[in-house]
């Protein structure tokens, strides 16, 4: 079973040289720590920056330079700054190669819910709806089950949707899945030490899993 950093590490293997990548808040942010040596990627922050650098050194924080999570950050050689309309313009026109974001639920046809829980204070969708509606290549990073132990990979989402038929890949602490065009979760790799049976029990949506599904190799 993977911890959060393990999930991030596994997702980092999906990043190819030359990718422009948008990382959401939470586990996706950790992916930046595991991008392999020699793989050149440019991180987009949707508040208007391409080429997001690491956190500044103490004392060098600049209130005019933050990421979409409102954290102080830095630029890198080759960075560029633009306004919010252009930022979502490049997202909509699919210039961003890969989007990685968290989710509360994903359905077997690729719907995602990640912005609203009825009865709880709604904070807003931010840029999530724009990202999922436009991105070609979206990976969801999430825990396999919720706090009540219920599967987050479902036949249909129960929470208000963020986007429909848009998720193609999911990485959880248990496994990697493709979401099939015709519907269903296809088990691609198991996390170290996790059995196919265990994954079956933890997944309530339609699952296609071979008994000899390979275990992932992280290093």
């Amino acid at each position: 079973m993977l911890d959060k950093n393990g999930i991030a590490k596994r997702i980092a293997k999906e990043i190819k040289d030359g990718y422009y990548v948008n990382l959401g808040i939470g586990i996706p942010t950790l992916v930046a720590n595991y991008i392999p040596e020699g793989v050149n990627v440019v991180l987009q922050s949707e508040n208007g920056l391409l080429g997001m650098g690491p956190f500044p050194f103490e004392g060098e924080e600049d209130p005019d330079l933050i990421n979409a999570g409102k954290q102080t950050i830095t630029t890198l050689p080759g960075s560029s700054i633009f306004d919010s309309a252009m930022s979502f313009g490049m997202i909509r026109s699919q210039k961003i190669d890969l989007t990685i974001l968290g989710a509360m639920e994903v359905s077997e046809n690729g719907d995602i819910a990640n912005w609203k829980i009825p009865g709880k204070m709604v904070k807003g969708m931010g840029g999530a709806m724009d990202l999922v509606a436009s991105a070609r290549n979206i990976i969801v990073a999430m825990q396999h089950v919720n706090k009540a132990g219920e599967s987050k990979l479902l036949p249909a989402c129960t929470l208000p949707l963020t986007g429909v038929r848009c998720i193609r890949k999911i990485v959880t602490e248990l496994a990697v899945f493709d979401v099939l065009q015709e519907g269903g979760f296809k088990l691609i790799e198991r996390a170290p030490g996790v059995s196919v049976d265990y994954i079956r029990k933890a997944t309530s949506g339609k699952l296609y899993a071979d008994d000899d599904a390979p275990e992932m190799v992280l290093d």
Binding site: S45, E46, N47, G48, L49, P54, F55, P56, F57, E58, G59, E60, E61, D62, P63, D64, L65, I66, N67, A68, G69, K70, Q71, T72, I73, T75, I81, F82, D83, S84, A85, S87, F88, G89, I91, R92, D111, M121, V122, K123, G124, M125, G126, G127, A128, M129, D130, A133, S134, P160, L161, T162, G163, V164, R165
Partner: protein, 233 residues
Amino acid sequence: MINKVVSGADEAIKDITDGSTLMLGGFGLCGIPENCITALVKKGVGQLTCISNNAGVDDFGIGLMLQQRQVKKMISSYVGENAEFERQLLSGELEVELIPQGTLATRCMAAGYGMPAIYTPAGVGTEVAEGKEVRNFNGKDYLMEYAFDADFAIVKAWKGDTAGNLVYRFTSRNFNPVMAMAGKVTIAEVEELVEAGELDPDQVHTPGVYVHRIFQGSGYEKRIEQRTVRTKS
């Protein structure tokens, strides 16, 4: 050159009245028009509709206007950092319309480009699509979203000149340029106001034609919401 300079925030906002629709630039607390917000709080205008990506925090930014119950409706993409906001929303004192961030930016852009509406895939198949025209282009569904119609846009830039040209700094640019283009009246506060001719025309982000009033602000706090650092090893 037409001179756009006014004496300060109080003069810049003097004709903003109860019930006005305002656009306020900024992302989180980054690039917000601090001086104009202070002036609006002092003036005490109410029943405002505010179009802004966020709603500030309890004691800074638009949060200051919420504390004085000056806001009737917020149109934002994310409002998660503000307890007073939550209280007013749950008690029914405040109306909120949440819209996707890209839609928010592009509805500003459309207004500034003179286009009545745009089509975007954001929100298709979700509650955001309720009551909206859906149109299919090349096999994909899009929602029609209208350009915003705001009485005033209030933006913050780093530098500006007396002709109203604006230059922003780093990610404090965010929504400011598109909102500047979208207001019927656009008010710009800048950290440094220079004479026309001192900004390189090639480096201007917002042309002065979009800006009606400009002044040099003072006492910028530029509060940081999430101070994240690394240590030198």
